[in-house]
């Protein structure tokens, strides 16, 4: 055990963990909107829209996240047309490519979580709203969405932790996140176990915090 290396690498890894958290939070926020959008599409009666939303979640849940990042980072740059548009300013940055891939990926899982949450809402609740003369829009925003969010909290907590682990793939497109820095230190010092303990410890700590945060929210919004 090389304790000195562990102590020395800790601050480097900790500052890299901030990048991991940044990647995680930005992609989760974007992914939540994507997920909500596609969950609503899944609840539509129009078969075409329904199938489209199902296809989206099927493709993104059925392929590895690594493929998705590589398609966006290496693949999209190949299209000449894209290079001339304003989108290119975003797509040439590995940071944004990673975030787009993460957001689309977590969006697919979130849409499934939210869809099943919407479907478990008892019809009686919606009917009660209707009989009180509340408009459909208000029923949706003020009754269905809050209930769905509460229902999906446990599953969404798991998704956050999975996504946190997913952000480690950002290191494959040159970003120096926690895993990227850990790999760099391992490959320069050849002390994999020490670095693994420190980096893994930081990841576990973040998992612990997220887990307890979700538990707290579950308790707060339970009924």
């Amino acid at each position: 055990m090389d304790l000195e290396l562990m102590i020395n690498s800790f601050p480097k890894l900790l500052s890299a963990a901030l990048i991991t958290l940044k990647l995680l939070s930005v992609s989760l926020i974007i992914g939540l909107f994507i997920g909500l959008f596609f969950a609503i599409l899944r609840l539509q009666k129009n078969i075409l829209i329904n199938k489209f939303a199902y296809g989206y979640s099927y493709v993104f849940r059925g392929t590895p996240l690594l493929v998705q990042i590589f398609i966006i980072y290496f693949g999209l740059g190949q299209i000449e047309y894209l290079r001339s548009t304003i989108l290119w300013t975003i797509l040439k940055e590995p940071y944004w490519c990673a975030i787009i891939a993460f957001a689309l990926n977590t969006g697919a899982y979130t849409s499934e979580i939210l869809r099943s949450a919407f479907q478990t809402i008892k019809p009686g609740i919606v009917e009660a709203g209707k009989s009180l003369g509340i408009s459909n829009k208000v029923i949706f925003y003020k009754i269905q969405i809050p209930i769905a969010i509460r229902q999906s909290l446990p599953a969404y907590g798991n998704e956050i932790i999975l996504m946190m682990k997913g952000t480690s793939l950002a290191s494959t497109v040159t970003l120096m996140d926690l895993t990227g820095v850990a790999k760099y230190i391992i490959s320069t010092t050849f002390k994999p176990i020490e670095v693994f303990i420190v980096a893994g410890g930081i990841y576990l700590f973040m998992t612990f915090i997220i887990h307890n945060l979700i538990k707290f929210l579950e308790k707060k919004y339970s009924y």
Partner: protein, 230 residues
């Protein structure tokens, strides 16, 4: 399309073998995972606090740390560990371990943590009466486990194990960082030499979709088989 031709002119045969490699690694990893689950599930269910603690640390650490980090640990640490063991026996040359074995082992340990949780849940949800009835019938410990508990556990576990299989299959793409030529690595090589990453990575995505689709169909059949009588 000529990019996918078989033979020297295209990448069809290479990608075909790479797909077989992905399947082989996934199955090996899943199998190693089962062995780990076989060891750790009883520990999780045991009344001994210390054994509980060991099993819980295993599943918590593995499920809380990114797969890629675990793979790096095995990739960089595996050689050192094997060489250390070899040096005890007086062998001091450089040993390179097979990327297949390292990769399958790393993914297997991850898959094992998920499998352990699945088996634990399945065994815990079996009615207590089943254990008691088996005892009353005077079945041996062996007979009780293999004839009564295991068939019921499998029925409950298969839907969740199919999720574990999907996770394992997708995780094998990460082994490509160690240089094992599976779908992802082969696509990377092909994309590099043809300068057509969009096509090859999209094709890799299609291959993975195909694999998940076919395995889902097969697992559904298993599910039907083990659910007969219900």
């Amino acid at each position: 399309m000529e990019l996918l031709a078989f033979g020297d002119t295209g990448w069809g045969d290479e990608l075909f073998y790479a797909t077989l490699m992905t399947i082989a690694v996934s199955i090996t990893a899943m199998f190693i995972g089962f062995i780990f689950a076989l060891i750790f599930t009883p520990l999780k269910l045991s009344k001994n606090k210390f054994l509980n603690f060991i099993a819980n640390s295993y599943t918590t650490i593995i499920r809380g740390v990114p797969e890629l980090l675990v793979i790096y640990l095995f990739f960089f640490g595996g050689t050192g560990a094997v060489m250390f063991v070899a040096s005890i026996f007086g062998y001091n040359e450089y040993i390179e371990i097979n990327a297949f074995i390292t990769g399958a082992f790393a993914i297997g340990i991850i898959s094992g943590a998920y499998s352990t949780e699945v088996f634990r849940g399945a065994i815990q949800s079996i009615d207590k009466g089943q254990f008691e009835a088996a005892n009353v019938l005077g079945l041996s410990k062996f007979g009780k486990f293999f004839k009564i508990i295991l068939p019921q556990t499998l029925r409950l576990a298969i839907p969740n194990l199919s999720n574990v299989w999907q996770i394992t299959l997708k995780d094998t793409s990460l082994i490509s960082v160690t240089g094992l030529v599976e779908i992802m690595r082969q696509s990377y090589i092909a994309a590099g030499s043809t300068r057509d990453p969009l096509f090859f990575y999209s094709f890799a995505a299609v291959l993975y979709l195909l694999l998940t689709f076919v395995s889902m169909k097969l697992i559904n059949r298993l599910e039907v088989k083990y659910s007969r009588g219900y």
